[in-house]
């Protein structure tokens, strides 16, 4: 039986923050891969070759058209995933459950309600091709999921997923070498010998952790970042291509380029104007300046600049 998978991503620019969710955007990787990439991998792991990703834009009924076209071409079932959560659903079990039932639609629920994941039969898709019947209330069966799920609606939920993955509370498998238990460092990352890395934490590809820096409390640094001299990350995630200035202390925060969201204080701050962080590739690193106290003990600004000049 041929199956297709339709993943409905966030509308508009996938790289922009969602309204009312702080800085959170689905474009943020969770320890190396975005949630979308993880869903695609799981669906492809089922042997589903027909996978399509469409925008969640109510003005453009892409998903209906795609599903109808697939149904006309002979696709028997479609797995519809509205990308708002990370859920470790046993997809083969869901398919068995749906096939054993008499309904054309199976919706997945957890204890908080629907997870935005449905399995639809061909007949249902063809029935929905008429615009007037798009919202028809087809009888559906309910698949109750009791496993791990997080609704990714905010930066706080993103951090929860990162911490759960690092603590082994969910099934996310991390890439990179485990240099010590629960410390994952990509083979292409450079970590200075004097840096303090406390488990669990993650350091992504191409990232540089410079002398005296410290990572602790389930901190993560995604790909192509630079954590400058003596800076400490505590319960903090750094998004790809971010430079962080020397001698700083971050806790319970997510930094994405020049923007920071402080979860404990519920505040979003622009660090670019104060020269404390930057987007790598868009601005010269040595143009950034941090306050006097930001330089670690015995470290002068000249030393910091000298170090920066050696950046690749």
């Amino acid at each position: 039986m041929e199956m297709g998978a339709l993943i409905v991503a966030a509308g508009g620019d996938a790289g922009s923050a969602l309204h009312g969710s702080g800085l959170w955007t689905p474009a943020w990787p969770v320890l190396g891969k975005t949630v979308l990439q993880r869903w695609i991998e799981r669906v492809q792991g089922l042997g589903v070759g027909l996978v399509s990703v469409v925008d969640r834009n109510p003005q453009e009924p892409n998903r209906i058209h795609t599903m109808v076209e697939w149904a006309k071409e002979g696709v028997e079932q479609v797995l519809l995933i509205a990308l708002g959560s990370y859920a470790e659903i046993d997809l083969p079990d869901l398919i068995r459950f749906h096939s054993a039932g008499q309904r054309k639609v199976t919706q997945v629920f957890d204890q908080q309600g629907p997870l935005g994941i449905s399995l639809l039969d061909r007949g249902c898709m063809l029935a929905n091709q008429e615009p007037a019947s798009q919202d028809s209330d087809l009888p559906s069966s309910r698949y109750d999921f009791l496993g791990y799920a997080v609704r990714l609606s905010s930066t706080g939920k993103y951090r929860q997923l990162v911490e759960d993955a690092l603590e082994g509370r969910c099934g996310i498998h991390l890439t990179g070498s485990q240099t010590q238990p629960r410390v994952w460092i990509d083979d292409t990352a450079q970590v200075d010998a004097s840096a303090t890395i406390e488990a669990p934490c993650y350091i992504g590809p191409g990232t540089r952790i410079k002398a005296g820096a410290a990572l602790r409390g389930c901190s993560s640094v995604e790909r192509n970042c630079e954590i400058d001299l003596g800076t400490t990350l505590d319960h903090t995630s750094i998004q790809p291509n971010t430079y962080v200035a020397p001698g700083l202390y971050f806790r319970e925060s997510v930094v994405d380029g020049t923007r920071l969201e402080h979860l404990a204080r519920g505040v979003t701050v622009d660090l670019g104007t104060v020269g404390l962080s930057a987007r790598i590739g868009t601005q010269a690193r040595h143009a950034h300046r941090s306050p006097k106290l930001a330089h670690g003990p015995g470290l002068s600004r000249r030393d910091a600049i000298k170090e920066e000049e050696h950046c690749p």
């Binding site: 202390y249 701050v269 660090l271 104007t273 104060v274 941090s290 006097k292 106290l293 930001a294």
Partner: protein, 125 residues
Amino acid sequence: MTSTQPMTVRRLPEPGDRASRRSFLREIKGFVDSSHRPRLILDLSAIVQMSPESIDLLLECVGHAEHGDGEVSVAGASPQTSVILEITQAASVLNMFPSVLEAAIGRQAHALEFWKPGYTDDRAA
């Protein structure tokens, strides 16, 4: 007997205004030099977000105050300013208060800590 610390409340000069900055630091130094254990309250309520120059200036004030065995408090910092002070670790050498009034009261409460009642709790029992 309680001791009172000399106290002054000031606003930081605009970043980039070197003349005002020099004048400000001269006044702070003069205040510290002429006082015993001075207390400096810096009103940050007009600052939306700190500039690097302002953070440096705050730290210079801390340095001057320490010479006179005094202390520096900041008052009325916006949530964004508070985050910047935390990240740069300036908050670790400053006393932070929501408002100037609370900073001043905080000082009095601090002074009262030196005074202990002449009786203990079991007196009321």
